[in-house]
Each structure stands twice: as structure tokens, then as C-alpha cells.
Amino acid sequence: MDIKSYIESGILEQYLLGMTSQEESLEVQKYAMQYPEIQQELDNIEAALLKYADSYSTPPPAGLKQKILDQLDGDSNTIENKESNNNTTPSKNASNGWKILTILSAIILSALAAYHTSKTQALVKQTENLQLQYDTLKEDCDKKQIAQENINKQIAFLKDTNTQTVRMKGTPLSPISEGVVFWNKNEQVAYLDIASLPKPAFDKQYQLWAIVDGKPVDMGVFDLPASHGDLQAVPFIEKPQAFAVTLEPIGGVASPTMDQMYILGEV
């Protein structure tokens, strides 16, 4: 054991300042008993620290000493009382004991009751919060499930070899516009997919037409989908030759406004 470097490490100072862990403290105490040099060093550091404390010396106010000694008296009186209780057990003290016990029980019981009330309230509140969260999640989950079922249906529909794809290209009015009609004769269903159409004015709506035997057949008005890929179901029409979309007043019209045709595609 290198006593010198142990002393030099500063551990003794930390020990005396209460900065060491319990393990370190025990170690210091062990070495101090074993090695007089370490004990000597501890004594010297301790003396310096005590001097340091001395330098802050401030006389306490007069009268404090008596106040403290009086409190000790009160303390020792209670000790004496306890002793006399054990020996002679006066009935007065005993009934006092019961009184104190009763009061203590009352205090403890009411404290417990208060604790339980507040605890219960907290639990009720927590349950309400959880119920709310559960309802929100359930609703969310149901919505997602419906959406998922729709998507599955659409995928099955698109994969069906009987499904025909009719691409509608932009007319000179809006060359970049595009849309698709998916059309299945076996299932007798049709879907519309709008890839791009300009946003209509607030009093206008797009209307889908099928051309059958050279004549336009109304397939209903529609709003632009939130995003490309959202298929909208549209009426099934037998033997279409072409599909087209025109921009019309809200609610649609009986026959298409030809100069407002945006997209057109032949079957």
C-alpha cells in the first residue's frame, strides 16, 4: 500500500467533507486504524477544517442557550412520565392514553378516507380518459377497415381480366388532363379514376358521359377525388363506344356542352 499516494489522492479531504461513498469512507477508516501516518494526516486536515469553521464564528443571540436548555427539561420530563407510567400506572394517565389512541385513530381514519377519495377521483378521471381514447381509436380503426375493404375490392376489380381500361386524354381545352374508366361487362360495374383535371369554379361540376350508338348518355356528375388513385364508382352502361367528361353547371345537364369537353377516350 502506497500511503503517500493515498494521502496525495485527496480522498482524506473528501472523506472529512462528507463527499465519499459509504465504501470509500469505510476504507478510509480502515486505513486510518492501520496506518498512523494516515490518521495523523486526517487529524491535521480535520483541524484545518475546524479552524475554517471557526472563522465564521458568530455569537448566537443572548437567551438562546436558556431556551434550548428549557426544551431539554421538557424532554426529560416526558421521559420521567413514561417511567412512572410503567411503575404505578395511574388510571388518569391510562385514560389519557385511550383518549390519545382514539384521537390518533380518528386522524388516521380520516386521513385514509381522504386519501381514498382523492385516489378514487383520480382513477375515475383516468378511466374516463382511457374510454375516450379507446372510442377514438375504435372509430379510427373501423374507418380504416372500411377503407381497406374498398381498396381490396378495387384491386380485385382491376386484376380481373374482364376489366377493360379506357383512357381519356385531354382535349385542346386542357391537353394535360387525364382520366381512366374501368369497365367490367361480367360484373356490370364501372369505376372512374381522375388523374388530373383543373379545379372547377365554385358553381361548376364535371359530368361523365358515355357515347352509345353515337349519342351521349349521362353517367352523373362527380367531384374531384382527394388524390389520384381514389376510384369512384360510376353507373354501368352497356356497349359504350367512348367516354367523355364535360364541365357543367352544378348538378349537371341533360346534354353535354361540347365546347366544355375536357377529356375523351374511345373504347
Binding site: 479531504e13 467533507l17 484545518a48 438562546l64 434550548i68
Partner: protein, 197 residues
């Protein structure tokens, strides 16, 4: 006071405490109250708070006198540790927090006796001067650990020095303190020897 003197006084107090003789508290008060009060005051800041803490400390000493172990250090150190801990505990109470003014803690205020008004009588001015001769960075370090009970990492953060340096600087600070005090300690030793002769 010389070492021998201390030992006699302390063992007298310890044996009185063991006999549950209240005289013990009286002697403790007469010999250590100013130092304990000074340290407590430094932590809890007001005279009123310090009085309350010192009262609690002496009651604690009286009630837990058996927990003092003479092999682990001097009675004085034990008393100081109880006082420091009690004072620091007090600073965590609601009472202290509500009484505290918004001014930042200013250690310089404690170097000035006048700050405590007429109730304060002069301390050991010679000793105080010597301690004030200690390098400020060492004094600051000892104060943080001694009065604020900072841990090594807290000291490292507060003074912005590496964690590994805290230990060695603390050792340097205390050896510096011992150098400064060396003369004084020797002088009091001489005084004690002189008195015995």
C-alpha cells in the same frame, strides 16, 4: 485550543452525554455554539432561521448522543456535520423558500460583520484575516463543498473545471489552508503547553 485541550473537553462532554447529564449540552453550547451558529447562519441566511436550526441541532445532539463514534473523528466535526445537514435540510423547507428574498446569495456579505448588525460581536479577527488570505479560487471551492454540500460533479459544473481536477484541487485548497493556519495552530499549541506548565 491545543489538541490535548480539545481531547479533554470532548471526552468530558461525551461522558456527560452518556450519563444523560444536561450539563453536556450546556458545555457544548458554551464552547461550540458560536462556530455552529456561524456555519448555520451562512447557509440559512437569516438570524431567525439560524436560531431555529441551532435549537434543533442541539436537541438532536441530546437525543442522538449515542450515535457519536469517537473513532471516526472529533466531536466538533460531528457537531458541525449535524449542523450543516440540518441547515441544508432547512433550506429545502417551504418556510425557507418563502422567506428567501430574491437576491442571489452573496458570500461576501458574510465576510462583513456589519451585515448582521449590532447583535454580532467581533469574531476572531486574526483568524478571519488569515482565512481571507487564502486564494479566492480555493476559498470558493471549500465554500461550495462545505456550505452548499456540492458533489464533485456539481463543483465541476459550477466552477467549470474538469471532474478529475476537483479532487486534486480540493487537496491543494486544504493544504494551502493548512499552511496558512499552520502558524496559528502551532501558536495555540504553545499557548496550551505554556498554560500546562
Amino acid at each position: 485550543m491545543g489538541n490535548q485541550n480539545h481531547k479533554n473537553l470532548e471526552s468530558q462532554i461525551v461522558s456527560l452525554l452518556q450519563k444523560r447529564d444536561k450539563q453536556a449540552v450546556s458545555i457544548i453550547y458554551d464552547n461550540y455554539a458560536p462556530a455552529l451558529f456561524g456555519v448555520i447562519l451562512r447557509i440559512v441566511k437569516t438570524q431567525e432561521n439560524a436560531e431555529e436550526v441551532l435549537q434543533n441541532v442541539l436537541l438532536k445532539v441530546w437525543n442522538n448522543s449515542t450515535s457519536y463514534d469517537a473513532t471516526k473523528g472529533r466531536l466538533y466535526t460531528w457537531l458541525l456535520n449535524i449542523s450543516r445537514n440540518a441547515a441544508i435540510d432547512f433550506t429545502r423547507t417551504v418556510k425557507f423558500k418563502s422567506s428567501k428574498n430574491t437576491d442571489a446569495f452573496n458570500p461576501d456579505m458574510f465576510n462583513d460583520n456589519a451585515a448582521f448588525g449590532a447583535s454580532s460581536t467581533p469574531k476572531d479577527i486574526g483568524l478571519e484575516k488569515m482565512i481571507n488570505g487564502l486564494d479566492q479560487k480555493y476559498k470558493e471551492l471549500i465554500d461550495l463543498v462545505y456550505f452548499n454540500q456540492y458533489t464533485q460533479s456539481e463543483v465541476s459544473q459550477e466552477l467549470n473545471i474538469p471532474l478529475g481536477t476537483v479532487k486534486s484541487r480540493l487537496r491543494k485548497a486544504l493544504s494551502e489552508l493548512r499552511n496558512i493556519l499552520g502558524d496559528e495552530i502551532n501558536l495555540s499549541l504553545f499557548a496550551a503547553i505554556f498554560l500546562y506548565m
